[in-house]
């Protein structure tokens, strides 16, 4: 009953399908790729990069450690140490590619799932757990690593990113030609988020002011139980074209391609050429969060087929085949991962609960008398239990 287009209607110019094809199973021909799922290095006429062995090993290490953060956190949730966890399994390449393309002066606005980007920015992974453990709502200082706090209201941060980028314009750090000065912003969001008014308004503001922002969408095919088709009937990156700025689709399971494309988009922004939409075409291998049950809404066959496109495996194959790593190197990274896992486990369990009275702190920069009175009354009330079992 909710019919899909049945064909061409006379009178509507170039048939739409010719301009914008429907989303294709494998990401379509427009998918930018530099490393195939089989670990073959391929080249792209517009986006390419000469990766050093060092860089490639770095990506590999980043992805392995990021995956470990994710599996540890998932386990910690199962053991009751976290209330919930938003897994990134399968999205490591998209995040490490995007994260490593940044320069220090760039600024990142994440969702709640950007653990890999946080890693690249140097945020202590333990700090990521606080929100999910319920001990804080973001335990790092955004200005320490130019990495904003996780944002839960879908899409809200894309406007913040655009405003921040407008601030950069006013600070004169865009288009000066000085590579250590020119800066840009990355706004992360998901395929589902692309339906929010805020995200589309962010496109409008960014285009209108030509703001230096890269809209980095991880199309992991799902918004909880809803497939991408509910949000868009054409490839998402094409959304940007209608707002007057470029959009590209990159293989989000290919860290090389994601890196190269994001880097180019960031440079474009820093140069003062405005916003770009990067759709990292990937797949959410796990559940939406640890409380979700994807067996209710998707086929295990789909998941299986995506396993063949694993972002880490293909880099490992490439590195090995080209003799860029040896068993010792790989074992070293595994050891590092084990250490990281251990640190996270211990660190998480040791994370203290906040002081109850801390909820009155930081409601305002300038505390109000009425809130101070409420706080004091509660403190006095709590004192009446002193010594009791309350």
């Amino acid at each position: 009953m909710t019919q899909q287009p049945t064909g061409e209607t006379p009178g509507f110019g170039p048939n739409l399908v010719e301009v914008f094809g429907p989303s294709q199973q494998d990401g379509g021909p427009e998918l930018i790729q530099l490393l195939t799922p089989e670990g073959e290095r391929v080249h792209h006429p517009e986006f390419d990069h000469d990766f050093t062995a060092e860089e490639l090993r770095g990506f590999y290490r980043d992805m392995v450690l990021t995956r470990r953060i994710d599996t540890e956190a998932t386990a910690l949730q199962r053991h009751g140490e976290l209330g919930i966890w938003a897994q990134l399994l399968g999205q490591e390449a998209a995040q490490i590619g995007a994260g490593r393309a940044l320069r220090p002066q760039d600024f990142v606005f994440p969702t709640y799932r950007e653990h890999g980007v946080a890693w690249c920015r140097g945020v202590d992974p333990l700090r990521l757990l606080g929100l999910f453990r319920g001990v804080d709502q973001g335990g790092w200082n955004p200005d320490d690593n130019n990495f904003g706090l996780y944002t839960i209201v879908i899409g809200a941060q894309t406007l913040h990113a655009t405003g921040y980028a407008m601030g950069m314009q006013r600070d004169g750090v865009v288009g000066t030609g000085d590579p250590d000065r020119d800066a840009a912003v990355v706004a992360h969001f998901g395929d589902g988020a692309s339906s929010q008014g805020d995200v589309n308004e962010a496109f409008i503001f960014a285009a209108s002011y030509n703001a230096p922002v890269v809209f980095f969408c991880q199309n992991n095919q799902w918004a909880i139980s809803e497939p991408i088709e509910r949000q868009s009937r054409i490839p998402l990156y094409q959304r940007a074209l209608g707002f007057g700025f470029p959009g590209v689709r990159v293989d989000g399971n290919d860290v090389l391609a994601t890196y190269a494309v994001t880097k180019a988009a960031l440079q474009r922004a820093r140069d003062g050429q405005g916003p770009t939409f990067v759709e990292a075409y990937t797949y959410r291998m796990g559940a939406h969060t640890t409380t979700d049950d994807p067996t209710r809404y998707r086929l295990s066959g789909d998941v299986e087929s995506w396993k063949l496109k694993d972002p880490i495996a293909r880099v490992e194959v490439y590195l090995r085949r080209n003799g860029l790593v040896d068993d010792e190197f790989l074992a070293g990274i595994q050891a590092e991962a084990d250490d990281l896992g251990h640190t996270l486990r211990e660190g998480c369990k040791a994370m203290p609960d906040p002081q109850p009275m801390s909820m009155f702190d930081h409601v305002y920069a300038e505390m109000t008398d009425e809130l101070a009175a409420q706080r004091d009354a509660y403190a006095a009330y709590l004192e009446t239990f002193e010594g009791s079992t309350h």
Binding site: T2, Y112, I152, G197, V363
Partner: protein, 327 residues
Amino acid sequence: MATQKITLAKGLNMGLRKAMEADDKVLLMGEDVGKLGGVFRITDGLQKDFGEDRVIDSPLAESGIVGTAVGMAMRGYRPVVEIQFDGFVYPAYDQIVCQVAKIHFRSQGRVKMPIVIRIPFGGGIGAVEHHSESPEAQFAHTPGLKVVACSNPVDGYWMIQQAIACDDPVIFLEPKRQYHADKAVLDESVTPEPLFTSRVVREGNDLTLLAYGPMVKTALKAAEAASGEGRSVEVIDLRTLSPLDMAPVLESVRRTGRAVVTHEAHVNLGMGAELAARITEECFYSLEAPVLRVGGFDTPYPPSRIEEDYLPDLDRVLDAVDRSWEF
């Protein structure tokens, strides 16, 4: 008709099913309400039985969901919208307060807005930010909306059907931490009270304790505890927040001379403020003490590890009861 023991989640699910069976203009809309049955499974199985045209998975956009529901209502449908969590209703706030609430008035009664907006609300489930809000006052302040909150499985079953049958827009608040907490016996042969009425859920003579949604359970426990100290506390489950059903409240307070209101929402400008103002105006000479309020503090909802400090609990309610006494 057989009786059965049900949870609140089950009661709501059954009530939705009944409403959909009774009137094929009833549609469900929202994020993940289809195959998944909603993140709380309240719509479980309904898409399977009623089809994708009546149980509609929506794009991820709350304003869009409510805005299209308005159009559906104009076309004669009775949309029941699910907002996934309380904290995500705000993108739809404009459509709710400027359109849903006003179209009947704007059109001089020509266009009805029989929309139900279901919101799982309140805290205490150990969730992250935006998943534990209590936005009722932000809707109750808006003329044109009706706002109700259920507190138990049987009410859930009946109230959702009554809300759907109502020709006015209803903000329907569901205490999410009660979804699976307790079971109650549903006897479908018992005629329910009308939707916009409050109910005395425990009788008492010394103090009137007003609660709704998730706090009713706490209020009942507090009354029980108080009775141990020889204080007879009457508990009223308000059920309807806009309109308020003041008659049983005033009758009670005139008898008891004391009132305490409790809710999870922030105290400042919460429902307690309105109840205190009205009770004081109507029962001025009966009051032995001012109406006291026990609510969430006037801070953002804190990290879940300290949410039990933020939320009013048995002890804080009892403390207010004591303070009322000592006044």
